[in-house]
């Protein structure tokens, strides 16, 4: 067996240079310079397609105790239609259909966009009921976006749209 140590050294040098280099390089730019990101993400169940029926006390009395409920609802839910405008221009929008065999599931909305940093006026509108024309939730807010800032817009039925 012959060993050529200088050659071996060269081989180790090449291999470890490759390992060292590709362990951190080439650098990857995920977000262009001077940009920020807007994420509109929430979980929400659209309203029932048909209004819930109020179950009268007499009717309730006839039901077995574990089945008694004040209202009775058909399962199908409305799609959730939401749109985010930035400085008057539509930025993100979707119509999320309720999932599930009976169209009775809640929807997960996840939308994101890269926008220039700076001051922007955001307006959001959402409709979650086929029984309502137009939008039943709206929100407006002006935000000074720093470069690389992540603006997370959440929604819940109590507080409406929340900028985080």
């Amino acid at each position: 067996m012959y060993k050529r140590y200088p050659l071996q050294f060269l081989n180790y040098l090449i291999f470890m240079s490759l390992v060292g280099y590709f362990s951190t390089a080439p650098a990857y730019r995920h977000l262009p310079e001077g940009q920020a990101m807007v994420v509109l993400a929430f979980s929400h169940a659209g309203q029932h397609v048909e209004p819930c029926r109020i179950v009268s006390p007499e009717e309730q009395a006839k039901l077995p105790p574990n089945m008694r409920r004040p209202t009775e609802c058909a399962r199908a839910r409305s799609p959730v239609k939401v749109e985010l405008l930035m400085d008057g221009q539509s930025l993100l929008s979707t119509v999320a259909q309720p999932p599930g065999l009976f169209g009775d599931g809640g929807v997960d909305v996840f939308l994101d966009a890269i926008v220039p940093a700076g001051k922007h006026r955001f307006s959001i509108r959402m409709n979650d009921s086929v029984r309502v024309k137009g939008y039943n939730y709206t929100h407006e807010q002006t935000v000074q976006l720093e470069p690389a800032q992540l603006l997370f817009i959440d929604f819940n039925t109590e507080d409406g749209f929340v900028f985080k």
């Binding site: 071996q8 362990s23 730019r29 993400a41 800032q149 992540l150």
Partner: protein
């Protein structure tokens, strides 16, 4: 036989490493080198664990302390942990490339290839959870990216990405990742590694010491020159802008900026499936498995010891013969190498000189009887002062390219298929010298063929070549199909040596010492 270009590329690389490393050639030890890097990862990982603070709030600071305050110990360990993991990926990719280029994944050998593919997933995901634990901007980037990938699968309810951004899930999830990285994934990997080499015999998991020391020193040097560091601490109100990605492990994430998560799953799963079915794609070579003939087997177990693919097992005698054992071949495991034919002392051409030669274990497509007939007619055709018979194999240099008046090459499945008694037979029947070719030294398409063959010639492994056979009339020179020069040089040198032996009259014509001659059984 013209080989695939990919094989030629590989052989060129192998030449370079053979020249630099001799028998330490790392290409011959890629599997064991990977194991070695895993050991380095394990030891350094245990050290890091001692100082690591396993919570979302404490993780980053504890890693920073290790890297900067204790740079001389924990810092180096961190770098070793990272670079050994990266080097392991490098070796795994080369290992795959090699097995593919040398076509060591078809037929009965599908198993090692097939079980290797999931290993890739396991190692890569283990690296991903490792980067997660630092909880810096890079960790945040892969956490969000992974959540996107997970959300596109129809198995989770709710949006993981949203929950991360909301800060709701990350703390609990961090503990889960920690558990996976420290215990769950490594244990799964060890199990899968055991599975990967289960069908091979005599598996070695340690590289040659010189190669291990060299690799460790090289890793240490890299760790000192370029210590592993973190990005800025994770901050979910900020988007990571520029990332110094570890491309060995995190290469898939940037694609998320261009493709949907669903497309990325299709790509990765597609590649995985393609890799997994490769063993069944052409070129396919059908071969019939070895067959045992109990009438010629005394249950010595040598073939069982020698089979590189664990295809032979030993069981109690079933035919009433007065021997304790017999052997059985599992055709599904047999790689059709013929090494067992070379192992069997019944593969002896001096037996039953007139009738058909039969042995204990034989290859249906090239039985020993046919090998003897081929040898006989080759010897009869040889003309000239120095007659040389060359036994070669299908995977090394094609020895029929050496044919001329005084030289004939015969191709068997593997150089380990040549029973030593055939060498003696050829010398007695008129050859002046016998050359054994086959794969390059230190490497064998069938793992151990040339190694067993050389040990048999040296008298270190049964069946041995009898000591009375003149060793000067035998030479061994392996070579790949691109090694024509090496083989021809060795052959010319051998021819000259044989001429000298003939001229000096030293033992001239007596290729096998008289005193102990006679036929064998």
């Amino acid at each position: 036989m013209q080989s695939a270009p990919i094989k030629r590329v590989y052989l060129t690389l192998e030449n370079w490493f053979n020249y630099s490393f001799g028998s330490w050639n790392p290409l011959y030890h890629l599997g064991t080198l990977t194991f070695f890097f895993f050991w380095v990862v394990l030891v350094s990982g245990i050290y890091l664990f001692l100082f690591f603070h396993g919570s979302l709030d404490g993780a980053y600071a504890s890693v920073e302390r290790m890297t900067h305050e204790q740079w001389y110990a924990a810092g180096i360990m961190r770098s070793l942990h990272r670079y050994a993991s990266d080097a392991a990926i490098g070796c795994i990719l080369l290992h795959m490339f090699r097995e593919f280029a040398l076509d060591r994944h078809h037929g009965a050998r599908w198993y090692s290839w097939f079980t290797g593919v999931p290993l890739l997933w396991m190692v890569v995901t283990l690296g991903i959870t490792g980067y997660w634990l630092v909880w810096d901007m890079l960790a945040q980037y892969i956490a969000i990216g992974s959540a996107h990938l997970m959300d596109s699968l129809p198995i989770f309810f709710g949006s993981m990405t949203r929950n991360f951004l909301d800060g709701a899930l990350s703390d609990r999830f961090f503990i889960l990742i920690e558990f996976l990285h420290l215990l769950g994934q490594p244990m799964l990997l060890v199990f899968a590694l055991w599975f990967h080499v289960r069908r091979l015999s005599n598996v070695n998991i340690n590289p040659p010491r010189g190669l291990a020391i060299g690799s460790l020193l090289a890793l240490l040097a890299l760790s000192i020159v370029k210590p592993a560091t973190s990005h800025a601490p994770a901050d979910l109100t900020v988007v990571p802008e520029v990332l110094n990605l570890d491309w060995f492990y995190l290469n898939i994430y940037p694609l998320l900026d261009y493709w949907s998560a669903g497309q990325i799953w299709m790509l990765t799963i597609g590649i995985t499936l393609l890799l997994m079915i490769l063993p069944w794609l052409p070129p396919k070579k059908a071969g019939a498995a070895a067959v045992v003939d109990l009438d010629n087997c005394d249950g010595c177990k040598q073939c069982f010891e020698d089979c590189p693919f664990d295809a032979i097992s030993v069981q109690a005698r079933t035919d009433g013969a007065p021997h304790e054992h017999e052997v059985v071949v599992d055709p599904a495991l047999c790689a059709v190498c013929g090494i067992c034919v070379g192992s069997c002392h019944s593969s002896n051409p001096f037996r039953k000189a007139q009738k058909e030669l039969r042995t204990g274990i034989d290859m249906p497509q090239l039985p020993v009887n046919k090998v003897r007939t081929m040898t006989d007619s080759a010897l009869a055709a040889l003309r000239g002062d120095v007659k040389i018979l060359v036994y070669g194999c299908e995977h090394g240099f094609d020895v029929t390219r050496l044919n001329r008046n005084d030289t004939v090459g015969l191709t068997l499945f593997c150089s380990g298929m040549v029973p030593p008694s055939f060498i003696e037979y050829a010398l007695r029947k008129g050859a002046d010298g016998v050359m054994i070719a086959g794969c390059r030294h230190a490497d064998c398409y069938f793992r151990f063929g040339n190694r067993w063959m050389e040990k048999r010639l040296k008298g270190e492994r049964d069946p041995v070549l009898r000591t009375k056979v003149d060793r000067r009339r035998i030479t061994v020179q392996g070579g790949a199909e691109t090694d024509r020069n090496i083989i021809e040089q060795a052959l010319n040198k051998f021819r000259e040596e044989l001429i000298t032996i003939g001229e000096t009259g030293d033992n001239a014509g007596r290729k096998v010492s008289k005193a102990e001659g006679g036929s064998h059984v």
